[in-house]
């Protein structure tokens, strides 16, 4: 068993103990938004890209909820473990190294994000918004989206000196990304340069994969979208390790 698994299990045990509060905060918000906004806007917009607005928005919500869960877990909870509770310090007295902790934190945040994404998918399926068995392929995509955002979030964490640091990333990166990546409306109605920005960011590619699957179609350019998400996860992992080593062993 890889060494980092013991650290993943530590986080899992905490999550299990705080299960209700954790699940509520990760799922209540996106589901309220999905049904509240989806119901209201869905009445005005009978169909978007050949699907009901509710189904369209459900695919976007799946990805954005996965993104937010992965980011919050790797940044706020991760920073609390690293900085506030000094949990990482305690782990490093054991025969583990900072690379193990980084790997465990990223996979853990992605796991928790996957749970958010897959629960939203389950709710969407029960509500009759996703009927094709193809939609099951959205499950691994959700994990990949989780990995990408967990890795990027963890870079922020190992660079952070205080909690305020995260508001820059949240406000200047995540919020605009949610607006331009096609969560609420199709990204292709945006001006060209804005689309280019969206295409350089991971959320857009997650949605490009999940939305056709919810509609019961295979996504176009799937390999490209998967490659971008994998690229963010891998590059984020490498950079998080680089900065974590600098923070912890000098």
């Amino acid at each position: 068993m890889p060494r980092w698994v013991s650290v993943w299990r530590r986080n899992f045990l905490v999550w299990r103990k705080l299960f209700i509060a954790s699940v509520l905060s990760n799922l209540a918000d996106p589901l309220i938004l999905l049904f509240g906004l989806g119901y209201g806007l869905g009445a005005l917009l009978p169909s978007v890209e050949g699907m009901s607005y509710m189904a369209f928005f459900a695919a976007g919500t799946l990805c954005s909820a996965t993104m937010f869960t992965a980011s919050f877990e790797s940044m706020f909870s991760g920073f609390s473990r690293m900085h506030g509770q000094k949990t990482w310090d305690a782990i490093l007295y054991a025969p583990l190294v900072i690379d193990d902790v980084v790997a465990a934190e990223i996979v853990w945040a992605a796991s928790k994000a996957w749970l958010s994404g897959s629960t939203i998918l389950a709710v969407a399926a029960v509500a009759g918004l996703a009927n094709s068995p193809l939609v099951l392929l959205a499950l691994p995509v959700a994990f990949l989206v989780g990995l990408a955002f967990a890795a990027v979030g963890l870079i922020m964490t190992v660079l952070a000196r205080n909690w305020d640091f995260f508001s820059f990333y949240m406000t200047l990166v995540m919020t605009p990304m949610t607006m331009i990546s096609g969560v609420f409306f199709p990204a292709d109605q945006l001006p060209r340069p804005v689309q280019w920005v969206a295409q350089a960011l991971p959320l857009y590619h997650g949605i490009e994969l999940v939305r056709p699957l919810v509609a019961g179609r295979l996504p176009e350019h799937a390999a490209l979208h998967v490659a971008v998400l994998l690229g963010y996860a891998a590059a984020g992992y490498a950079m998080a390790i680089f900065f974590a080593r600098r923070r912890f062993s000098t």
């Binding site: 530590r10 045990l13 103990k17 509770q85 310090d89 007295y93 062993s249």
Partner: protein
């Protein structure tokens, strides 16, 4: 062979060299104390010995493993009690030990067996399911000690193990640490608490401004560096009395309103104090604290 051996350790942060050429030798089974004022480089030295901070220069061997190259392998056989408790606040006492044992890859059934034994040792037998937030400072420190023993380490690092504890809690920790040395484990502790070093350690190194300025057993350090008797004097007129004392003893110092007289024979000094109702005094044997203050000075270190 040494349990811990360091040669020429160096560490620089920006313009400040916090460790400048430290040599350490800790024989197996010893209780070794690293003393020094705040900022002397004690914690940095410990972190380098564990392979957590990379030194800028020097060599370290911990339980036969070169550090930092094989630090992970060495840490399998090492326990650490940090200066500030970092127990998991979300877990119970027992869960803290289970989770920590997993970091060492210890099989679950072995951890469960060890927990009973360790909680007994730490005097937390009935507290298995208690939450960390309900424990006192002394209990937390004992649990941290139990956690450090989960892998049955040959060597235990402790950074100021009793700082912030009340006398009862401190004596309990001391008693447990003596038990650990009796079991043949090597202890390396930092402290700026001289009584602790004198009671527990059979070897000491005094660290100041990143250098070892004295090393040896507590008795040897006292014999080597300081006059055997001390008279402390305070009260009205201590200034005038100090002038008289200077001719009677080799070393006389003043700190605030107290005069310290260090001498091999205190009787002439004590004779001048008899009948002086304004001055109160204390005659005592020299201690490690006197050595420490002589070598590192009386100025505040912040």
């Amino acid at each position: 062979m040494s349990a811990l051996r360091a040669r020429g350790l160096r560490k620089r942060y920006g313009a400040l060299e916090v460790v400048s050429g430290v040599d350490l030798d800790v024989p197996p089974g010893a209780c070794f104390g690293l003393l020094g004022p705040n900022g002397a480089g004690k914690t940095t030295t410990l972190r380098m010995c564990l392979g957590l901070t990379h030194p800028d220069g020097g060599e370290i061997e911990l339980l036969g493993e070169p550090i930092p190259a094989r630090a992970r392998e060495a840490r399998r056989r090492v326990g650490v009690v940090p200066q500030f408790d970092n127990l998991d606040p979300d877990f119970t006492v027992a869960e803290n030990l289970v989770v920590y044992g997993r970091y060492f890859g210890i099989p679950e059934h072995q951890i469960t067996e060890r927990i009973k034994e360790l909680l007994e040792f730490a005097g937390l037998g009935a507290r298995e399911d208690a939450r960390i937030t309900t424990l006192s400072g002394g209990m937390k420190r004992r649990l941290t000690l139990a956690r450090a023993l989960i892998n049955e380490p040959q060597l235990l690092f402790m950074d100021e193990p009793t700082t912030g504890l009340d006398p009862q809690a401190r004596h309990l920790i001391w008693e447990r640490l003596r038990r650990l040395t009796q079991e043949g484990r090597t202890l390396v502790l930092t402290t700026h608490f001289m009584e602790e070093a004198e009671r527990l350690c059979d070897r000491l190194a005094i660290l100041d401004r990143g250098r070892v300025i004295a090393a040896g057993s507590p008795r040897a350090l006292i014999a080597e560096h300081i006059e055997p008797q001390v008279v402390e004097v305070h009260g009205n007129g201590h200034d005038a009395w100090m002038e008289r004392a200077r001719s009677l003893a080799p070393r006389v110092e003043r700190a605030g309103d107290t005069v310290f007289v260090y001498t091999a024979d205190a009787s002439p000094v004590l004779a001048t104090l008899r009948g002086q109702s304004e001055l109160s005094y204390l005659h005592r044997p020299a201690s490690l604290e006197d050595v420490f203050l002589k070598l590192t000075g009386r100025d505040l270190r912040d």
